[in-house]
Symmetry: C2
Subunit: 565 residues, 2 copies
Amino acid sequence: MKHYALGLDYGTNSVRCVVVDLSDGCEIATAVFDYPSGKQGILLDASDPNLARQHPADYIKGLESVVPSALEQARDATPDFDGRGVVGIGVDTTGSTPLPVDAQGNPLGLNPEFADNLNAMAWLWKDHTSHAEADRITAYAARERPQYLAKCGGVYSSEWFWSKIWHCLNVDPVVFDAADGFVELCDYIPALLTGTTDRRFMARSICAAGHKAMYCDEWGGLPDKTFLDGLDPALGRLRGHLYERAVTSDQAAGMLTHEWADKLGLPAGIPVAVGALDAHMGAVGAGIREGVLVKILGTSTCDLLVIPADRQLADIPGVCGIVKGSVLPDYYAIEAGQSAVGDIFLWLLHCLAPDTGGVPDGERFRRLGEEAARQKPGEHGLLALDWNNGNRTVLTDVRLGGLLLGQTLRTELHEVYRALVEATAFGGLTIMRRIEQYGVPIREVVNCGGLAVKNPFLMQIYADISGRPMKVARSDQTCAVGAAIYGAVVAGAEAGGYDRIAAAQDVMCSVRERVYTPIAGNAAVYARLYELYRTLHDAFGTRDWQGNLFSIMKDLIALREQQRG
Amino acid sequence: MKHYALGLDYGTNSVRCVVVDLSDGCEIATAVFDYPSGKQGILLDASDPNLARQHPADYIKGLESVVPSALEQARDATPDFDGRGVVGIGVDTTGSTPLPVDAQGNPLGLNPEFADNLNAMAWLWKDHTSHAEADRITAYAARERPQYLAKCGGVYSSEWFWSKIWHCLNVDPVVFDAADGFVELCDYIPALLTGTTDRRFMARSICAAGHKAMYCDEWGGLPDKTFLDGLDPALGRLRGHLYERAVTSDQAAGMLTHEWADKLGLPAGIPVAVGALDAHMGAVGAGIREGVLVKILGTSTCDLLVIPADRQLADIPGVCGIVKGSVLPDYYAIEAGQSAVGDIFLWLLHCLAPDTGGVPDGERFRRLGEEAARQKPGEHGLLALDWNNGNRTVLTDVRLGGLLLGQTLRTELHEVYRALVEATAFGGLTIMRRIEQYGVPIREVVNCGGLAVKNPFLMQIYADISGRPMKVARSDQTCAVGAAIYGAVVAGAEAGGYDRIAAAQDVMCSVRERVYTPIAGNAAVYARLYELYRTLHDAFGTRDWQGNLFSIMKDLIALREQQRG
C-alpha cells in the first residue's frame, strides 16, 4: 500500500487540504473551503478599520469539508488510492490568531451567549485594534526586559498574542473573564483532531509561542509572571492558564481521535504534528535550508531564513522574530515580512478603482501587468511606499499609511499598479539588506505563494529590483506541503513516512524551470529609484531622519524624461 | 429696438458664445462648440506628457458655428430679438496660447505645409514642454532684470509666451523661421473679426501681454532687446515683429468686417473689444471690485483681486501676476491660481479609476460627493497635495507631482476624492493667506466656473477649509458675460451699450441665493489638517524646509480615530 500525508493549511480567507504521495511528493488532491462568515471570511467592524476577526465555526466547517473532499478527489484521480494509507497529518494556520476558550478548550465564539460578540471570536493575525497595548508592551519591555524585545526586532506588534489578549481585557473584561485561557489557532486545530483541547494535554507550537508570545527557552518559556503583572495582574494570573513548554512540529500533538477519523474518513490513531504558522510551514514546503531565503508572497509576505542553532547570531534590529526551532528543529529561524503585498494590489482594484464592468480580478491583473510591463523602469514617474497596512520589517510600525507620489494628470491605473508592485519590491529589498548587513548571507531566493505562481510581471520586477534571480517553488501550496512534510515526519519512516525533514524535503520540494533573472539595463535605474524610496522610507518612517524632500519630485520627473527618451 | 452684446469665450475644450440683453443682463442665448481635433480639442504627443497644442482651424470653425447658433437660439427664445440690436462684441480666450503666424497674420498651422507639425499649431496654455526655457529665463532675469520677475511672482512659467516661443526656436527652427511673428489667441480672434491680422494694425491685449509676456509700461513695454538678445539673438530680432503697446479691453480692436458680419449674421461695423484672458474676463463677469476675490473654478483655477492703481502695492512672492488694467482699467489686477483642480478630479475618474460600466461622469461625481459628504473631516485619514499639474501659486514650480498619503487597505474611491477636493481647498487657502499677508484684504469670495455651479460638496469644503462664506456668481458663464460687458463698453452708452464697466456690472452681475457658510465644528479639524498640508507642501516644495515627517502619518491616524469616535 502507498503512503500519504495530509497537510491542512488555514489561511486568511480559506482552509485547504492537500494529500501528498510520500513516494514521489506528488500532490494528488487538493480541496479548498472558503470561510462563509463576514467579508471573505473576515468579521469586520465598519467603525474600526483595525478590527479583523474570524468565526471559529468556520474553522470546523472547513475541516469537515476539505478533508473528505480531498480524499474523494484522491480516489477519483488515483485508482489505487486508499485512505488507510494516510500516515500522518500536519497543520499550519495564520497567526498570531488567538481564540478565547473555556475550561474544556472550546472557543467562546461557539457559545451562544457570545454569538454576537466579536471579542469572543478568533482575533485574526491582521487585527490591529491593540496598537495602544502593543506600544505599551514595547515601552515596558524596553525598560524591564530588553532581552524579550531583542528577539522580535525591538518592537512588540499589535498583531501578536499579548497585545491582543490585553486589548481584550481592556475593552471587554466580560469575555476576558469568561475565558479560561487563550489558544493559538495553530494549537487549537491539532488539539481538536487529537482530543486534547484540555489545556493540561494540549501541545503548544514553538513557532507561535516564540514568534508571537515572547516565549523562549532561554528565559524559561513565556514572559515571567512579574513582568506580566506589571502590565496587568490579570495577565499575570492568566499565565498559569497557558503553558510551560512549547515544542517543535516534528513532535506529535497527539493521535487522531476515532470521532474525527470517522467524520473525515481517515484511520484513527495516526499522529497529528504540532501545528505551526503558515509561513513557517510554507518555507519548509518551499525547500528552505541554510542560505536560502524563502519569500512567501500572498496578501502579506513572510521572508524566512534558517541558520544552524550552534552558530553565533546577533539580534537584528527591525526583524520580526528569531526563534529556535520554529521552521526546522535545531535551526534558528529568522522571520521578516511585509504587512501587505497582494492586499495592496487587491485594494487598488477593489477599493480605489472598482469596475462595474464585471471583468474578473485575474483578468484585470493580467491586463494591467501586460500594460505596465511595456514601460521602462521610472517611465511612470511614480514612487510609492508599501505601507497601506503598516510596516512590519524593518520599521515594525503599524501606525503608518500608504503613499503615492509623482502622479500627473495622465497617470494611468496600470502605472500606479506598477509603482505599487515596485514599492513592495523595494520593501523586500530593504529587508534583505538589513539581514545581510547582520552577517546572514542570502545565496538563493525561492518564492512561493499565489503571487509567485500567478504573476510573472511581479516576479520580473522583484528580480530587477533585488538584482537576484527569483526562483519559484514547484508547489502551488507550499504551506500545506510543509504541513504534510511534518505529518510524514511525525509518522516516521517505519510507518511509511520520514525520519528527517531534509529527507522528506528532498522528495517533496523542488523549484520550477522558469527562473526570473535580473535584466541588466534596469538595475541602474532601480538603484536610483531605491535611493528615493529609502529617502521617503526614512523621512516618514524614522525619528532620526533630518532633511528636505525638494529634489524627490524633480528627480522622478528627470528620470521619467530620461526613460521616455 | 433692444440692444445686445456678444461674449465669445474660447476655453480649453470648446468655444462658447452668449448673447446678453443689455437692458436687464439676461443671457438670452448660449451656444457651445467642442473643438473637433485631438483629444477633447487638445493635440497630444504620446511620448511627451508636457505637450498640449490646438489646431487653429478649430477656433475658426468654432466661430462660424457658435455665433450663428447663438443668434438663432436668441430668435427662437425671444420673439422680438433682432440681430441688428447687437452693439458690440467682446472676446476672451485661454492663454498664454501663442500661435506662430505668417506676415499676413495667418496661423502657420493652417498652411498645408505645416499640417502635420504640432509646433506650427497653437501652443495651449497648459503646454509645459518649455520648462527648461522657463527655468533659464527665470535664472537670467533674476540676474539681469529682477524687476521683470517681481511682477510675476518671482518665477517665469513654462506656460507663458517667451518660454514657448523660445522652445519653438530650440526644437523647431524651421517653424520659428517660417513665422513672421507670434500672436496670442486673445489677440488673434478680434484681429480676425476686424480684419486687422496684419501686425501693424493688430491691437494687443494688456492682459495677455502683462501677465504672460513680461510687458509693462514701467519699462517701456515688452522686455528690452538687449535682454532678449541675451536669451537668443533670434528672440531679440523677433521683438521688432511683435508690438510696442498693449491696451485695455475697454478699447476697440476694430470694427467687424463685412465679410465676418455676413458670415455670422451680425451688423457690420460694430466694435470688437480688445481681447483678454478668460479668467480675467470671468472675474469681470462675476462682479469683481475692490475687496472681492473671484475664484474661477474649472479644470484649473484662477484667483483674481483688484486694487486701485493709485494705491501702494508690494510685489507678492509666488503670485503669478500683477498687471495694471488687465481686469479693470485703472486697477491693478492680482492674479494667482492652481494649475489643476477640476482636472485632478477628472484624472481620478478617467485615468485612475476608469469604469467600464458606462455611468456618466456627472453621475459618478454626484455619487462620490454624496458618499464623501457623509464623512467627517479627517475621518478618511488621508492627505493629498494638489500638484498633479505642478503648482502655479505660491510655489510657481511645474516640476512637481501629485501626492497622496495615509491610504490603508480599506481606503475607498470616495475618500480619495474627498482628500483631493480638500487638497485643492488647502491650495486655495495657501494663496489667500499669501495675498492677505502682503496687505491686500479679502472681504468677500465669489466663485464661478463649472465646479462652483455644479459641485455643492466641493463648495462646502471650500467654505469649511477657508473659514469664509463662499458665494457663487449667478451666471454659468461669467467669462463670456465678462467679454460681453466689454463688448457693451466699447459700444458705449450712445449706441445702447455702457460707458463704464461698473455700470454694466451693476446690470449684468449678481450672486446666487445659496451661500456656503463654514460649519463651525469642522474648522478646528481642518486647521490641524492644514498644518500637515503645509508641512508636506514645504517639505516637497521648498528648498529651505528642514525637518522630519515621522509624525505626519501618526497624526492622520490619530485624527481619523478621533473623528470616527
